[in-house]
Symmetry: C2
Subunit: 297 residues, 2 copies
């Protein structure tokens, strides 16, 4: 009997607060070499979108997330991100749980965005903002709030931003410029246009770049590649390799993070299956307690 967590069950099982802790532990375990992540496979179904098979291994479990990125779906009333997370026991191969991939992805994306902001942002950061009020932007805003921090929301679709802000009890940014000037900035946009032109970040700011995962997409200037924003920035000499480290190394104390209050820090996120594994394991802890439906295979 395998528990199956629908989106509702994932949200009931793992709070935003718990998700941040789980994702933190995953980053540290990966940085220490305890967890591993074989390369993800893209299954192209362009122009509509693509599927990704994302494996991870850690804490005695193997995980596979089968998930979509279909950017045109919301216009049809369908989710961009959908699919299933499968969690197996790594010592005997048995399937242990299935979880809604959209809910797991939103939870861990919000958690990673806020974790990076808290880790790399200034200690005395006052304002936080999320640009993009879709599923994952909503999750990032919700996570800031769960951590006791007020947050501004902005979206090209003002109605959408307002609806999410009202639902969560977040603030509505008066303009994109106000949001972009926040001390802790999270961007979760499709990346069709550059949100942050060169020189737009101010000393001391932090930005978590959570969107723009796909061919030809970018949220920040000079920086566009299939596998993240950093490659082109390094190629363009905007930053050097020594400026770049992994969030997990900072969290594990293996590398420095912010070194001065005037540093500009950015977290360039590509979705990592270790984050999904962290959420799946956290959900499993509460499978019995919650009335999660089961699958009999």
């Amino acid at each position: 009997m395998i528990p199956v967590f629908s989106a509702r069950h994932v949200e009931a099982a793992v709070s935003a607060e718990r998700a941040v802790e789980a994702v933190r532990e995953a980053f540290v375990a990966y940085a220490r070499g305890e967890w591993s992540m074989p390369p993800k496979v893209y299954v192209p179904a362009y122009p509509a979108g693509d599927f990704r098979a994302m494996p991870a291994l850690g804490a005695g479990h193997a995980l596979l997330k089968w998930v979509t990125s279909f950017p045109g779906n919301p216009a049809r009333g369908l989710p961009t991100v959908t699919g299933l997370v499968l969690l197996s026991n790594a010592s005997d191969g048995s399937l242990r749980a299935a979880l809604d991939a959209g809910a797991v992805t939103a939870l861990r994306t919000g958690a990673a965005a806020v974790l990076a902001a808290e880790t790399l942002g200034r200690q005395d950061a006052e304002t936080a903002a999320v640009i993009g009020a879709g599923v994952n932007g909503r999750a990032a805003a919700k996570t800031f709030l769960a951590r006791g921090r007020s947050v501004m929301l902005w979206d090209v679709d003002e109605q959408r931003a307002r609806a999410v802000a009202d639902e969560l009890g977040a603030d509505l940014a008066s303009s994109r410029e106000e949001a972009l000037a926040a001390d802790l900035l999270v961007t979760v946009t499709p990346g069709h246009e550059i949100l942050l032109p060169e020189g737009s970040l101010q000393p001391g700011q932090h930005v978590s770049l959570m969107g723009a995962d796909g061919p030809g997409k970018a949220e920040i200037a000079e920086q566009a590649s299939h596998n993240g924003e950093l490659v082109h920035a390094v190629e363009a000499d905007a930053i050097t390799r020594t400026d770049v480290t992994e969030l997990g190394s900072v969290l594990a104390g293996l590398a420095p993070g912010r070194e001065s209050p005037d540093d500009i820090t950015s977290f360039d996120s590509t979705g990592l299956a270790i984050q999904d594994l962290a959420i799946a394991l956290a959900a499993m802890e509460r499978a019995d307690e919650l009335d999660v439906p089961t699958l009999d295979l």
Copy 2:
């Protein structure tokens, strides 16, 4: 509401006969370039076993099989092969079905073994044998019988061979040698020891090598590689590249198969996700008609 096919439902939905036709169509579609198969990913959990994430794309669908190979599992009363097959709509990304991976794997492995034997074996082949009476060997024997052909079974574990033969109405080979001499031979062994030493195949025989998928395993002499049996045979000059083609090319009429009654033919199978896709699509055709349980995500 997503139909979930347990092993029982997979078997009820797709007969061995239907599986052969479905797998034939998949091989042809792949040979014609209509279906595609991104590389599978291995997730190592050695020494116990490994997980495989196997994607395929075809007929408007994307498929991912998350499946194990844990060879020591049967000794613990657990299956070697277990997991889930996920079928998604390739035009909008929506999940369409989940199916028991062990049942799908057995069905398509049996189908591929017999399809290869029928395609490459002599027209006047009389005897058929299956060596290895595990889950997939049983499926191969069942498929021969479904095609109206009697079949001999042999296994190192005679009790197991007898039980499967009794269940299916197959014959029990009097010895391994008798089985090995069959006109149409299917081997489904773990590949820990060579079953077919050099020179043991007779002119006119066909062998479908269905086991031995893993590091250091082989069913036929000189031929062992992680990705199949052929690489080393070519390296050892036992066969030349021109002797090797794809079953799909033969089925599609793009390449010759057997050219004379005295040819020795062999089908070196590694599991292909296009075969799983063929079975999943065939199962879907009967989801409404059968009372398949559904999953509400």
